[in-house]
């Protein structure tokens, strides 16, 4: 009897470990790429720089979006956010010798990105953070690491084909976003919501005529409802996503720029794109040229 029980226990352990292994394998797909974590990274940076401090500390706080599929998204049951922005974060952290699991992910929403950088709540913001002159007054922005443009997501049977057609229609996006301001300037009635998923819902149930934001995000939603939704019009704005850092540490700009340029050259950038935004079917674009640091 005793032996049987032992056998059962052994079998159970075996099954459990097999299942766990399967689970791990499944997770690896979602977790994106493996990055090469630098050894002894701290020695690469001069003493007194912020990079040296972070490398010595062995951890970094990165602010990303949690509600933009493809860009930065964290589901209710996920441990870490996934998307192109977190991938860029992992590449930067790896250069400091910080492994992906040592990154402290923090959710930043559009309205608190500057405040979080100023108060040191996060070390970097990689959160579909368009580079603008106003923002560069209060925070540092290195980049662009990705350039996208604003488009429209409509129902498959919609009459909206060009940007002129939005005059007099109701178009939703996130309250206070640049996209909403742009579409208002095109003559549409702006309808602001808290999240993109709420906005998609309004398009699906017919309350509003279209949703607008960066094309990359729209493609992600169109892929979720291929029969009901489509992405239309040529991109009518240019959003240059940058990496935000505190203006108190200007030395970070050169480091961010060089690290991303290296990733663009050795293919890490393209690989990061393919496992995130590329999943919606768009071709991997040419990486954009980074702005020189001041």
């Amino acid at each position: 009897m005793r032996l049987t029980r032992l056998k059962v226990a052994a079998a159970a352990v075996l099954v459990a470990s097999t299942l766990a292994a399967c689970g791990d394998a499944g997770d690896d797909d979602d977790k994106g790429l493996d990055v090469d974590v630098q050894d002894n990274a701290a020695e690469e940076f001069d003493a007194g720089t912020r990079m040296r401090e972070l490398a010595d500390a062995g951890s970094i706080k990165i602010g990303v979006k949690y509600d933009q599929p493809g860009i930065g998204f964290k589901g209710a049951t996920d441990d870490t956010p996934v998307g192109f922005d977190p991938e860029i974060g992992k590449i930067l952290a790896a250069d400091l010798g910080i492994a992906p699991e040592d990154i402290d992910w923090v959710e930043t929403i559009s309205a608190n990105r500057e405040a979080f950088l100023q108060k040191g709540e996060v070390d970097l913001v990689i959160a579909s953070y368009s580079i603008t002159d106003e923002r560069r007054q209060v925070v540092g922005q290195a980049g662009p690491y990705y350039v996208t443009g604003q488009q429209l997501l409509v129902k498959s049977d919609s009459d909206i084909e060009s940007i002129e057609d939005v005059k007099g229609t109701e178009v939703c996006s996130v309250t206070g976003s640049t996209s909403l301001a742009n579409i208002e300037a095109e003559g549409a009635t702006p309808r602001g919501f808290d999240t993109y998923s709420e906005c998609v819902d309004q398009v699906l149930n017919g309350t509003v005529d279209a949703m607008t934001t960066d094309g990359a995000i729209l493609l992600g939603y169109a892929a979720e409802h291929p029969d009901e939704l489509k992405v239309v019009v040529e991109p009518f704005s240019e959003e240059r996503y940058g990496v935000g850092y505190s203006i108190d540490h200007p030395e970070m700009c050169d480091w961010i720029t060089e690290t991303i340029e290296d990733a663009q050259e050795d293919g890490d950038w393209a690989a990061a794109f393919e496992v995130t935004l590329g999943k919606s079917g768009v071709e991997t674009p040419e990486p954009p040229a980074m702005d020189p640091c001041a």
Binding site: S110, S177, T178, A181, G192, G206
Partner: protein, 217 residues
């Protein structure tokens, strides 16, 4: 900051939307709230139960949840799809505020000495006449301070619909904050002053009413 002042028409339009929302919701809440209060103090047991159930359920529901029902759940069920957003906002805020109005008025009704209602009944008034000519006029007078508080809270509560598709003051504030990352504090101050002015109007109105109805005593 220049951006805000050179586009001040956008600020005014946004506050006009807040005012419209507040006035429409206020009227809806006052009418429904008075009705609920009358039902709760009335002689019909069924109506009393209905009114107190409504007060219990709605007063214990956060406004955000109310908005989720009106703006998300209803359209998904095919209701209110073509309804203008302003009307949906009025429904959400009005329905939410009504029980608070009802309780403010009920406290006023309870403040009217019992002898008043008894005297009215003694001279043969019906319940409706009694309420209309004797109890409610005195009850409203006693209800002015709590009603003013309720309406002030409601005016500020309209800001919740900023994330439900309505371009009112708070939504417009977020628009400016997003465009002027270097000036956020001043923008907050400008919009806070706007809200203070609106709320002061209600306070002054309440003070005026109190003074006027005091003289009538």
């Amino acid at each position: 900051m220049d951006d805000v002042f050179s586009n001040f028409d956008l600020v005014l339009k946004a506050f006009w939307m807040t005012v419209q929302l507040a006035v429409l919701s206020g009227v809806a809440a006052m009418v429904l709230g008075t009705l609920l209060a009358a039902m709760r103090v009335g002689p019909v047991a069924v109506l009393r139960t209905v009114a107190s159930t409504y007060v219990t359920v709605v007063r214990n529901t956060p406004l955000l949840v109310m908005c989720v029902f009106v703006f998300f759940a209803a359209p998904n069920l095919g209701l209110l799809v073509g309804t203008p957003f302003l009307v949906k906002g009025t429904i959400a805020v009005g329905l939410y505020t009504a029980p608070f109005v009802a309780e403010a008025i009920r406290s006023g009704v309870n403040a009217v000495p019992l002898g008043q209602a008894e005297a009215a009944r003694a001279i043969g008034m019906t319940f409706a006449q009694n309420m209309r000519h004797v109890v409610l006029p005195q009850a409203f007078r006693a209800s002015v301070p709590p009603l003013a508080s309720t309406l002030i809270a409601m005016t500020k509560n309209t800001s919740v619909v900023a994330v439900f598709g309505i371009m009112e003051a708070t939504a417009r504030m977020r628009y400016f904050v997003n465009r002027n990352a270097d000036d956020t504090i001043l923008i907050f101050v400008v919009f806070a002053i706007g809200y203070i002015l609106l709320v002061e109007l209600i306070s002054l109105g309440a003070v005026g009413l109190e003074r006027r109805w005091k003289a009538a005593r």
